[in-house]
């Protein structure tokens, strides 16, 4: 087979994209630190993807327009122009090398012949933004996937093997407040699906966690993540507004 004959136009288009965009398409993972103004160039590059690339292998992961871009837009809105926005994404999935843990054998009885179980931890999104108020906001989305490989005798005497998986999505949002900030307990509690931990000190930290089902994706995941982020901001007293 002659290499380089196919997809020449699409390859040329791919080479013209933002370097971070290209790495994400080719390796399904990337980590970068950008200034808020530089995120515009990267997002414009993402926006041009669908028109230029049709090859399935080079498709843009759905989480880029669904989750990554909206969160980049929101975080950039609260940052100084020269502050760094750190983004690390890994869309290779939970079966990528290094993500799966050791398997253990579970006790079984007939008709089951064996059940092996292992877990995979897939941290597919991490972001860190230094905010305009001198604090920092970190958010992480990790999929914890349980795999079970089940070997059993069917009623007709055949040996059947199937693998099942169950995913729990763990979302963590941490806000490190600027020095000297005072924490105030919010007047109302957060929703029951949000767990809050507070660390007092010269630079207090408010950490919010939630376990979400696998079905929470795209705009709904953005919405839930922002609601969690809201909780970290409710612990600081409202700033007096200048009269306008």
């Amino acid at each position: 087979m002659i290499r380089g004959v196919f997809y020449r136009k699409q390859r040329a288009a791919l080479n013209g994209f933002h370097p971070v965009h290209r790495t994400l398409v080719e390796e399904r993972a990337t980590a970068v630190t950008l200034r808020p103004a530089d995120t515009d160039g990267l997002i414009r590059s993402f926006a041009a993807h669908a028109a230029a690339i049709r090859r399935r292998r080079w498709r843009l992961p759905e989480r880029v327009p669904g989750v990554l871009v909206p969160l980049m837009r929101v975080l950039a809105a609260d940052m100084r122009a020269d502050a760094p926005l750190g983004v690390a994404v890994d869309f290779r999935g939970p079966k990528a090398p290094g993500k799966e843990g050791p398997a253990i054998a579970l006790p079984v009885r007939l008709p089951y012949l064996s059940v092996r179980q292992w877990f995979a931890f897939d941290p597919w999104l991490r972001m860190r933004a230094e905010l305009r108020d001198g604090g920092a906001l970190e958010l992480a989305v990790v999929d914890r996937v349980r795999f079970r490989r089940i070997k059993k005798n069917s009623s007709r005497g055949k040996i059947k093997i199937k693998t099942k998986s169950k995913t729990v999505r763990l979302v963590t949002v941490s806000r490190r407040l600027p020095k000297g900030a005072v924490l105030t307990r919010p007047a109302t509690p957060p929703p029951g699906w949000i767990a809050v931990r507070v660390k007092e000190g010269s630079r207090p930290v408010v950490r919010v966690r939630a376990r979400l089902p696998e079905s929470v994706e795209g705009p709904e995941l953005v919405r839930r993540t922002l609601l969690m982020t809201t909780e970290t901001f409710r612990w600081t007293a409202p700033q007096p507004r200048r009269s306008r």
Partner: protein
């Protein structure tokens, strides 16, 4: 001098405060030269629905405010907003945004954990 009425930021809200030169053609807010777009709209009225567009966060902020209002029901949190922002919670008011954002909270409010 009438200052610009645009609020910048998403969680850390700040009034722009620059001298206004015009008013938004849709909501009537005072606008500075920096925040008036070519069609004479403020960033929120002109906000696109696509996150790929740079002004998306300004428009999404209103949707987010009304969503967080049903989830948290926290009067102190709302006091950080100005009358324009609070309009998102006022169903049927002059500033109310579209309908359909005022559904009840589906997640319950069983209280704090580990705080």
């Amino acid at each position: 001098m009438n200052p610009c009425g645009v609020i910048t930021g998403f969680f850390l809200l700040n009034p722009c405060g620059r001298p206004s030169v015009t008013a938004c053609a849709r909501c009537g807010r005072a606008l500075c030269q920096h925040h008036a777009d070519a069609s004479g709209l403020c960033p929120e009225c002109a906000a696109p629905a696509d996150p790929y567009d740079s002004g998306w966060a300004s428009g999404y902020r209103r949707t987010y405010y009304s969503d967080s209002s049903t989830t948290y029901n926290d009067p102190n949190w709302y006091s950080t907003f100005d009358s324009y922002d609070r309009g998102a919670f006022d169903q049927g008011g002059d500033w109310a945004s579209g309908g359909g954002d005022f559904d009840g909270d589906d997640f319950g409010d069983s209280g704090f954990v580990d705080s």
